[in-house]
Every structure is written in structure tokens, then in C-alpha cells.
Symmetry: C2
Subunit: 167 residues, 2 copies
Amino acid sequence: MRWEDIDSQVCSMARALAIFGDRWTLLIVRDAFRRIRRFSDFEKSLGITKHRLSDRLNRLVDEGVMKKALYDEKRGRYEYRLTQKGLELYPVLMSVVQWGDKWACDDDGFPVEFRHKTCGHVSVPRYVCDCCNEPIDPRDMQPIPGPGVERKRARGELVQNEHSRNM
Amino acid sequence: MRWEDIDSQVCSMARALAIFGDRWTLLIVRDAFRRIRRFSDFEKSLGITKHRLSDRLNRLVDEGVMKKALYDEKRGRYEYRLTQKGLELYPVLMSVVQWGDKWACDDDGFPVEFRHKTCGHVSVPRYVCDCCNEPIDPRDMQPIPGPGVERKRARGELVQNEHSRNM
DNA sequence: TCTATAAGGTTCTTTTTTGGAACCTATCGC
DNA sequence: GCGATAGGTTCCAAAAAAGAACCTTATAGA
């Protein structure tokens, strides 16, 4: 399968990764969360080539993850900012950072921690069930087909077992 | 910067993405969570070429995210299973899936939901502060340098402002 | 006025990485 | 013996990425 067809899978993960699952995109989003907004600042921060950066920023704008905002009318200069769609990538970034802190760290320890302004403490956010508030253990999560699968199945659009690859 | 040097950044995210931030790896891990274990089953599920799959599985084993387990001594056949390091990618996958459910969905709705066996309810896990249990808003999280940055800075190893790209 | 510089790109060329298909090897069931 | 199966490897063409050079407009400074 070509990567560009990956989002044809009935799988939210495949469709999400079609947008940000390449080499640089998530690092660009990371920088955007760090309030980097201008082309040249992304360039300096990432060490990415202009070509690639231009391409990735445009793609993020096309996908609605970032938006351009004019900041210099004379020269037609735009900043790149996260949209709501982009802001909601925060849990993705946070979980990647936490995993990296634990498993891809050098001997000096993790590079950064976070203070939760609301309560004032250094926080290590955790994933909990929105119902019982208990931390999630993968073995306790049982996948069940949602509407996106049931409706397609009712219309006979799914090949055998395709519903089983729908995480 | 070459992608293969990306993990030299003092950034947990860059170092994590150096391991699983390419096109296929996270989809392979997804399948592993779905109890797919054998080469040919990954191949069928993903539509990836053998070449690529072999390469990615070996890399995951090298990185300690998966391990090989002999299941047919005669033929020297191995299964690929997640290690603890791999199992702890669950929040990453889950947050990607949730984002995809919300933002990369077709009109039929999300393909899958999850029942939390512990409490018996359909659950949408969320990130909360481990201190005050409130849901996390990105704007409330203030990054502060951790030991991985402070120690390097004390040894004079950081160039100006490098600590500021350490998420 | 002339020149230099900066931002935000685009173009060109070379390397790397993919995708796709064909091929290989050992064992098993018949 | 004969085809099927699992788990690869090899080869080649196509796509994507890296690196450098170049372009355009505007503004700052000599």
C-alpha cells in the first residue's frame, strides 16, 4: 500500500497519522506549542530545510491544523498558529514526551517538566477513565465497533474482518 | 539536519520520534496491541511490503519496544510481542486515536470505542493533572527546565537558548 | 542614492528511502 | 514428489528528503 492511501483505512489512527505521522510534522507542532510562529524561527529551531518546512507548514494549513495570520501587511508576511484542531493535539505531544522522558532519556534525566498553573504543582499528567477516574491499563480496554464500522457493515462495505483493524 | 541526527536534540519528543516517528512504525505497534504477532499477519493487516516490515520489526526489537519469542522450534519461527517499553506506548496510541476520532473521521462516525472493563462503561480516557485531577489545558502547563537541561547547562554544554527547545 | 540585510520562500541536484515484484529456503500436509 | 506456507532477501524504479543556490520585496544604514 502506498503511504498516501493509508488514510483509506477504517482506522482513526491511520487517518490521523496520514496528517502528522511523518518525520517532521509533529516537531513543527511541538514548536508551535512553544509559541514559535514565524517561518525563520521554525527553521532555526528545527534545523529543517526551507523546502521541507514550507511544504509541511502548507500541509498543516491545508489540513486545518494551523492557520496563517498576517502580521506585516506591507511585506505580506504571515505567522503560523495552531487552530483548535491543532491545539487538541496536546495530549498526543504530551504522551510522546512522557514516553520519551521515561524510555529515551540520557543519564542527565528528563529535559523538561511542567508546572500546572491551575494547582501550582509540577505535574505529570496521566491518562484516566473519564468515567471512574482510574488510570488506564491497556489490558482493561476492550475495543468495540463504533458507528463508523457498524454503518459501513450494514451497507456491506466492509470486507471480512476489516472491522478488526479499526483502532 | 539529517533525520538520523534528530535524536541528538535535548528533547524527549525528538528522541521518541527518532524511534517511532516514521510512516509505519506506530501502525505496527497498533497491530501489536491488537494481538497481532506474526510476520504474515502484520503484512496482511498493514499492506506494507515484506521488506519494510522486516526492517521496521527489527528496528523495534533493536530499540527494545518489541521482543521476539520462539513459537516453532523446528522452523525457527518467531512472534513479535510488545515489551514493557512498548506497552507503555498505549497513551500515545490512544491519544492519536482520540484525535483521529474527532478530527479525521468520515460521516459515519468513529470506527471504534472502548469499554473500560474495570468500571464496565464505555470510556473516553482523558489527561488529568496527577496532583489536582483536573483535565489538562495546554495553556495551563508551564514548561520548566528539568535535570536533563540543568545538568548540561551547568557543564556548559548547551548553546544559547537550546534549553528552550526541550519539550 | 547605493548597498547590505532579512524574511520567506522556490529551484536545482544529489542521496536516501520507499514500493513492488520476483526470488529463495525450509518444512508441512497430502 | 508436489504444492502451499512462513518468513524472509534481492533487485530495480519511483518518490521523498537534504543541501545549496537563487529570487523578491522592503527596510536600515553609510
